[in-house]
Symmetry: C2
DNA sequence: ATTTGGTGTAAAACTAAATATTACAGGAGG
DNA sequence: CCTCCTGTAATATTTAGTTTTACACCAAAT
């Protein structure tokens, strides 16, 4: 699974914080129960989102809050925060083609141009969707 | 790496077959040397491409040849042949959110709609690129 | 018809990557 | 100064991907 499920856990956390953060202190323990992941995993995810400026985590006493408007939190930012080079890992090229073969010698460069396009397309696709859309979807569902 | 490197090996094989298939019998052994992958891996890849109608493999005596025009071989077809449900595996959702939590109960459905869009975008992106483009790139490079 | 060089595929062994667990130091606030 | 929380490192554990081994079966050449 290689936009990691950590990404969906992150979105889950952001929804939770946005919707219920006003009513209660949102700790890694609580999010762990809600998402079904381990508290350390949650802490790592929150920590990554914090570095990206997406949220704040109160040190010591605990509790996470959003740090920027929903419309500025794109899926790309979330994925990027969780796994900085996920785009380059999206499509792999076999490592050891033979340098003696004309195809083997050049396949890397040849694929590079096409693969770059695909990555750019995915980038744009992920930029188009924001947490605002997701919260909207959530409200419509309730 | 989750459009598998098998996909790039497949492209490598197709380039090889197209460019040098006229001059020599292209066996899994030969492709194994050129790509640096194991012959069984190659046979599995060729077998998958064969099922998709992309190429033919002569049984017994050996040798692979293309079975359809380059312009009809899209990257999507290749990826799909290699790993039929690669699109659904692209983005995962965490398996066990709590059904007791309003977010946990609904997160699956909420993500579904956004994730579907991303998968469709990737699908189109992969359909746009064909082996014709890749062979062109290869020729320009030589 | 037998030999040679190839395919197709299953099963086992190996390797690498993602994930969860344990453990503990350190901060904030009552 | 005690309690509840975070941050992070180190260590399992699980899971997925890959390679290797093995062998049945095929076709063409001799």
């Amino acid at each position: 699974m290689h936009i990691s499920t950590k990404c969906s856990v992150a979105i889950h956390c952001l929804v939770f914080i946005h919707e219920y953060g006003g009513q209660q202190k949102v700790t890694s323990e609580l999010l762990s129960l809600s998402t079904g992941s381990n508290p350390v995993t949650i802490r790592n995810i929150l920590s990554a989102l914090k570095k990206e400026g997406i949220l704040c985590v109160k040190f010591g006493t605990g509790g996470a809050t959003l740090n920027c408007p929903l419309s500025e939190i794109t899926l790309y930012r979330i994925c990027k925060a969780i796994e900085p080079d996920f785009l380059s890992k999206l499509i792999g090229v076999h490592a050891m083609p033979s340098p003696l073969c004309p195809v083997g010698k050049n396949i890397h460069v040849v694929l590079d141009s096409s693969y770059k396009k695909i990555k750019e397309d995915l980038f744009e696709s992920l930029q188009k969707i924001t947490m605002e859309d997701i919260i909207d979807d959530y409200h419509h569902l309730l």
